[in-house]
């Protein structure tokens, strides 16, 4: 039975699944928060903010995620900084940080597109009614952006879940790590990786369904 090998190594696969879920959730929340802030910076009337936002996106989008993860683990270590005195806590936090910052750059671009896509008339009407810039963003621009960015954010979320497998390179015992250990113990590579794939799908398919549901409920016909 496909995936049966999961029951032969339950601790490895279930720990892997749980760590994948944790890093995905923390990474996704972090990415959305950071990405939204960066997007707002990029469209702000203040030039220094636009510059900082632009630099952030350029850097975190154009460097490989695996390099970023290594930086948060061994790069910071070389500079004398660690997320925690316990190495395993440290690599977990490094992974979550790396996920959030890297995908935050993609979220930023998506949200920026959404912000710019809000009808210019709305923005001008809000300002002319006396709303400050921040009030305009909070009550007029952002709420309308949410609807349009749900589908691309969903894509980023699914990509993020899959990218958590890179955390195995800094020692995090997530799903890919579990599959590799099982493969080295049993040599049943196909079974091990099919099991990991099934567990990933267990996360990405529901995520896709949720995103579709949200899209359906929030999308207003134009």
């Amino acid at each position: 039975m496909p995936g049966g090998i999961i029951f032969e190594f339950p601790e490895l696969f279930l720990t892997g699944l749980w760590l994948t879920i944790q890093i995905s959730v923390l990474g996704l929340i972090g990415a959305i928060v950071i990405g939204t802030l960066v997007a707002l910076a990029r469209v702000s009337p203040l030039v220094p903010l636009r510059w900082i936002g632009g630099a952030y996106v350029e850097f975190f989008r154009n460097t490989p995620l695996i390099v970023q993860l290594f930086f948060w683990f061994l790069g910071l270590g070389a500079l004398g900084f660690r997320f925690s005195t316990d190495t395993f806590e440290s690599i977990f936090r490094a992974a979550a940080t790396g996920m959030a910052l890297y995908h935050g750059a993609y979220v930023a671009e998506v949200v920026r597109g959404g912000l710019l896509g809000v009808d210019r008339g709305q923005v001008e009407a809000a300002r002319s009614l006396g709303l400050s810039y921040l009030q305009m963003v909070r009550y007029v621009q952002l709420p309308q952006t949410v609807r349009s960015v749900i589908p691309p954010l969903g894509n980023i979320g699914i990509a993020l879940v899959k990218n958590t497998s890179l955390a195995s390179t800094i020692g995090v015992a997530e799903l890919l790590y579990a599959a590799e250990i099982v493969e080295s113990r049993t040599f049943r590579a196909e079974e091990a990786f099919i099991a990991a794939t099934m567990l990933f799908l267990l996360l990405t398919i529901p995520l896709g369904i949720i995103v579709n549901e949200l899209e359906r409920r929030l999308l207003v016909a134009r």
Binding site: A78, T169, Y177, E180, I181, E183, S184, R185
Partner: protein, 300 residues
């Protein structure tokens, strides 16, 4: 004598080529000097896999890019070097002959511990030479040549470490090793699952973790640890061998006769390397600088 013959063969070949170019390519260059078969390929049996490789014109050798002193790829030049690499080149020479630059017959396939068996079973590499410990579980998956190197597992710690002296002391400590290797499994067996394994992709990364204090020790085969000590003299190797690690060359199991004669061929080549002293020379070239000892055969 061989060197002079080869130089003569090369000189005459160049002369013929120069003549051929000069006369518009009407003559084809052919070395006619009585060299010891330097420019001709060895004759191999038709039904064997080594003959198939010879016909194909390329041998795919799987090894690791950063496994000092066994296999290292210099990023700047793209050149491979190391003990395992040298053995690989010798096998290629046994198939393609000594005369030309054997490098053009080799396709180096980068592998790590976690991918070396799939590389063989999925037919991505003809041989894998990568500090590959022979054991019964692996023998069920792939074939191994005879032992070409012997070592054992030990522990690397910082020079001022006094808490880890033997394998059992690793319990409760963060021990770094390579994911998917026998080393990481041996650590758990030796400490009865009480060690906390930090499994990374390579030993240089483990060394970094040790230096930064993010790992208490690194544990793997002694020869790899020698390479790490060379990189960082502020470390030391402790403990007796707590495992025996006989290295072999990994080859796909013959299915329907597709690897006929290959393992025997590799074994014969290895015996030749040992009896002609080439094995000892490579040991002295790559291993002695880090281990300080000399060996003439793998069983010394």
């Amino acid at each position: 004598m061989r060197g002079i013959s080869r130089a003569l063969a090369l000189g005459l070949t160049l002369a013929f080529v120069a003549t051929a170019c000069g006369t518009g390519g009407s003559t084809t260059p052919s070395p006619t000097v009585a060299a010891s078969g330097a420019a001709t390929k060895p004759r191999l049996e038709l039904s064997t896999y080594q003959y198939a490789i010879q016909t194909k014109g390329k041998i795919r050798i799987g090894t690791q890019e950063d496994n000092t002193p066994f296999s290292v790829k210099t990023p700047a030049t793209g050149k491979w070097d190391g003990f395992d690499v040298a053995i690989g080149r010798e096998i290629a020479k046994a198939i393609f002959g000594e005369g030309e630059d054997v490098e053009k017959f080799i396709e180096w396939v980068p592998v790590v511990s976690a991918t070396r068996i799939p590389a063989i079973t999925d037919n991505k590499a003809d041989v894998v030479i990568k500090t590959f410990t022979i054991n019964d579980e692996r023998k069920a998956q792939i074939d191994f040549s005879d032992v070409y190197f012997r070592t054992g597992q030990r522990i690397l710690v910082k020079k001022d470490n006094t808490t880890i002296k033997e394998a059992a002391d690793m319990a409760g400590k963060t021990i770094c090793s390579q994911r998917g290797s026998t080393s990481e499994k041996n650590i758990l067996t030796a400490t009865n699952n009480a060690a906390r394994p930090l499994l990374l992709d390579s030993y240089p990364a483990c060394l970094l973790a040790l230096q930064q204090g993010q790992a208490d020790a690194v544990s793997t085969d002694e020869t790899i640890l020698f390479g790490l000590v060379k990189q960082d003299p502020n470390t030391k190797i402790v403990g007796k061998y707590f495992s025996q690690e006989p290295y072999g060359i990994g080859v796909k199991k013959s299915a329907g006769g597709d690897r006929t004669g290959f393992v025997d061929f590799i074994n014969r080549t290895m015996i030749t390397l040992i009896t002609t002293g080439k094995w000892a020379t490579y040991y002295e070239q790559y291993i002695t600088p880090v281990s300080g000892d000399k060996k003439r055969t793998p069983d010394d």
